[in-house]
């Protein structure tokens, strides 16, 4: 049609018709490769779902049959209050220290990884490799290795280091990006004044990224809290360990009680980090502080704080000395108590987790010997019969849950986007659905499903599929809302209806972002599928088995397998993200 209209831009210039319309250029090989990857991934999804025997009908049937088992879970049973408080404090202490550890180690690594602060090519690449490695290995894997190295007596320390290390990948990457985005002017000013590298990094780069450091730390604390539950299954103390014991001894009511506590803790943590964020960053339009600090500020200014007025005279304290620190206004009170609380929390947390120094020093000395036991990796003849099929099952769970998750998450995400939903009310409703799904820890859901459906792949797939709602639909909704509405208006103005507009303008625009999110979700799901091993599924189960039975060679073989899968996925998604833009 279009080529017949003379005004159409793609119409051939020649009017005589003697020159043929130029043939469509052959698609770029990268584009072909990307499509091949997509079709391959989609085929993997469908095959996985088929091979695992997952289809909506059987799922509903089995859910309906299984609901009876839910009665096993009620009434929920809680540990006695003293024990409950102890467990909660242990979990919080481990999560807090792990987050602190990861932030404190991420900052220097990010400084080496960022192009404007690094010391050279070698250190930059080293830092980036460390970050990629830390991202690739799930914290469960770190924990399993460390527990062999440090011994089970230091479970808390192992949890801290494992979560800390695996956070470095994400936090370090984000911080490196932030560092590359800072205003470089102040750094140059300090260089011009004769400041050395570490001086200008401390005085100009770190103050500029401090808000982001805090934000990433708070976000990571949320994630670590969820992960800490899982680590309980490999011997990290706290609520997770209690949950693990309850599951192994099939005390389902206690399982339910602990699950409720974990959910409450997760919600509490979300609220707390939100509150801290607004306290730290919250100022109203006129620059005045909000919340409690605002009140303190006003009281301070009416009482003990005197506003200086002399411009050409140094500020002096009451006893006549030059004033070299700020008065006790809200800002200083906040900083002072902030540091006090932070230090107090560190001391309390370190005291709470009770590191066994004796065992620690002993194990550190036989560190090389323990590490050498991991090599060479050896499946003891079980690889093709047992571990490889388990690995395949794990990957299948990841793929199948992605497929199922897409069916649920994409519509929810679309409905939650203000510019796509039919009415603002609907968008708001689905936003709330997403927030609720996010707050609900995946593992708790998985446990409930395992109780209903038994220890099988369907339970895992369903749990992970629901888990993707929280993340994937949010990302989809956000990128839809960020899409350029002018294109939508243009398409709508040409007479397209709502659905046509959605597919012609909105979907096309957000496709690259959505594809990136889907690949990311696949990555998340396959890692999570490994972690479901703690519930007795797939390769993760063999990992735990090998760990508890001290089979170091098998352990390292399985770890290498998992890392290989994660790295292959990472490479695929890096490639696709580069091509699709």
């Amino acid at each position: 049609m279009a080529t017949l209209t003379p005004e159409a831009p793609e119409a051939p210039r020649s009017t005589s018709g003697r020159h043929p319309v130029p043939p469509r250029p052959a698609p770029h090989p990268h584009v072909v490769a990307t499509w091949a990857i997509f079709i391959g991934l989609l085929a993997m999804c469908v095959w996985s779902a088929y091979d695992l025997g997952i289809n909506p009908v059987t799922i509903f049937e089995r859910l309906a049959n299984g609901v009876d088992f839910l009665s096993r879970l009620v009434p929920p049973e809680f540990p006695e209050p003293g024990r409950l408080i102890e467990l909660t404090l242990t979990t919080l202490a481990i999560v807090f220290l792990a987050t602190l550890f990861s932030v404190v180690t991420s900052v220097p690594i990010a400084i080496f990884a960022a192009v404007n602060t690094t010391t050279g090519m070698v250190s930059r690449q080293t830092a980036r490799i460390i970050m990629i490695f830390c991202r690739a290995a799930p914290d469960l894997v770190f924990a399993i290795i460390l527990i062999r190295v440090f011994g089970p007596a230091n479970g808390a320390l192992i949890g801290i280091i494992a979560m800390g290390l695996s956070s470095i990948g994400m936090v370090g990457k984000l911080l490196a990006d932030n560092i590359e985005d800072v205003n470089r002017g102040p750094s140059e000013a300090i260089q011009a004044a004769g400041g050395a590298r570490w001086q200008w990094i401390h005085s100009t780069v770190i103050p500029q990224i401090l808000p982001q450091i805090i934000a990433h730390g708070l976000h990571r604390m949320d994630i670590n809290l969820r992960n800490s539950v899982l680590l309980g299954f490999v011997g990290v103390p706290g609520i997770g360990a209690a949950l693990s014991t309850a599951m192994n001894t099939r005390q389902w009511q206690l399982v339910m009680g602990l699950a409720i506590i974990i959910t409450v803790l997760c919600i509490f943590m979300e609220l707390l980090s939100g509150a801290i964020r607004t306290q730290l960053m919250g100022r109203d339009g006129s620059g005045r502080r909000r919340g409690i600090l605002g009140v303190i500020d006003r009281i301070a200014h009416n009482n003990w704080v005197t506003a200086p007025t002399e411009t050409h005279q140094v500020q002096r304290t009451r006893n006549g000395a030059v004033r070299t620190s700020p008065q006790w206004d809200a800002g200083r009170i906040q900083r002072f108590f902030g540091w006090l609380v932070l230090i107090g929390l560190v001391v309390a947390a370190v005291w709470d987790i009770q590191i066994n120094w004796q065992v620690l020093t002993n194990t550190v000395t036989n560190f090389p010997e323990v590490v050498s036991r991991f090599f060479p990796p050896d499946g003891r003849g079980l690889y093709w019969d047992r571990f490889f099929p388990a690995l395949v099952e794990t990957v299948q769970i990841g793929f199948a849950s992605l497929l199922l998750g897409l069916f649920i998450a994409l519509p929810i995400g679309a409905m939650a986007a203000r510019n796509v939903a039919p009415t603002p009310g609907i968008a708001k409703f689905f936003r709330i659905v997403i927030v609720v799904c996010r707050a609900f820890p995946e593992l708790v859901l998985a446990i409930i499903l395992v109780v209903i459906l038994g220890f099988n792949a369907t339970a895992g797939v369903l749990a992970l599929a629901f888990g993707s709602i929280g993340l994937l639909s949010k990302l989809v909704a956000d990128s839809l809302e960020e899409s350029d509405t002018r294109v939508q208006d243009a398409v709508r103005a040409s007479g397209a209806n709502r659905l046509q507009t959605f597919f012609a303008a909105t979907v096309r625009q957000t496709a690259p972002a959505t594809i990136a999110h889907i690949l990311y979700q696949l990555d998340v799901n396959i890692r999570a599928a490994t972690l479901l091993g703690v519930l007795g599924l797939g390769i993760g189960f063999d990992l735990l088995e090998a760990s508890t039975r001290n089979r170091y060679d098998i352990l390292s073989l399985i770890i290498l397998n998992i890392l290989a899968v994660v790295v292959v996925l990472e490479l695929i998604s890096m490639y696709v993200r580069k091509v699709v833009r």
Binding site: E188, I190, A193, G194, P308, H312, V314, Q327
Partner: protein, 286 residues
Amino acid sequence: MAQSMMATDASFTSSEERSIQLRNVTKQFGEVTALNDINIDFAPQKINVLLGLSGSGKSTLLRHINGLHKPTSGEVVTLGTEVHRAGARKLRMLRREVGMIFQHFHLVESMSVLENVCTGKLGSLGGPRLGLFMYPKEVKEQAMEQLARVGLADKAFNRADALSGGQMQRVAIARALIQEPKVLLADEPVAALDPVSSATVMNLIGKIAKEDNLTVVCSLHQVELALEFSDRIIGLRGGELVMDRDASTLSLKEAHEIYSAVAVVTDEEIEQQVPELAGITTEQQS
């Protein structure tokens, strides 16, 4: 020619006479020649203004003086230090004595004004500092005194981003002054300011230069300001030195004439910098 050779020799022997010397300085950024064979001396305790269009090489010249740029060829000697061959440590030693202020102030906005001033002293303090409390008391007192000098003592504990542009530039001046410099480099210090703040900041620079016997090298866009505040006016164009006059011998009218001669843009130059624009001007002219 022979005279200038002699001057060169003399200048290298008596560095007290000339605080800054540039000899045959050429700077190349890839294809672009930012400075082309520049020879210039700056006498101590004088205010020198660099005039020139955008891209004429003012910033590049200033940055050679404290070694933020190294010349592609040629020699730069500042306060007796051979900048063109100085290593990192030697450069840091030199930079302690050379203050610098910038068009966009380059303050850390989330930091307090006093701490921003203290960072100027980092060059002579060992080790990194995280927060005001890590600076020695004397440094903080000095910082407060410098703030009083620039008339911002009342703002010492405000965040830097709560200040106006003119105030920020005065903080930047205080940050340079706490170094107790012998040379002050200013790269378009008032280009981002309104006329009133511009006058305040330039007055301040002039007053402090007299009080502290500073050698000032300052790039500017405005001829009036240049005439009012400088002892010597230097015109740059396309990386070359095209004017060098004692300011007291220059009338405003004369200066404008010279400057517009310096500042008139040829089509060739426009084509070099913004090819899309070249056609437009010729069309308008025809």
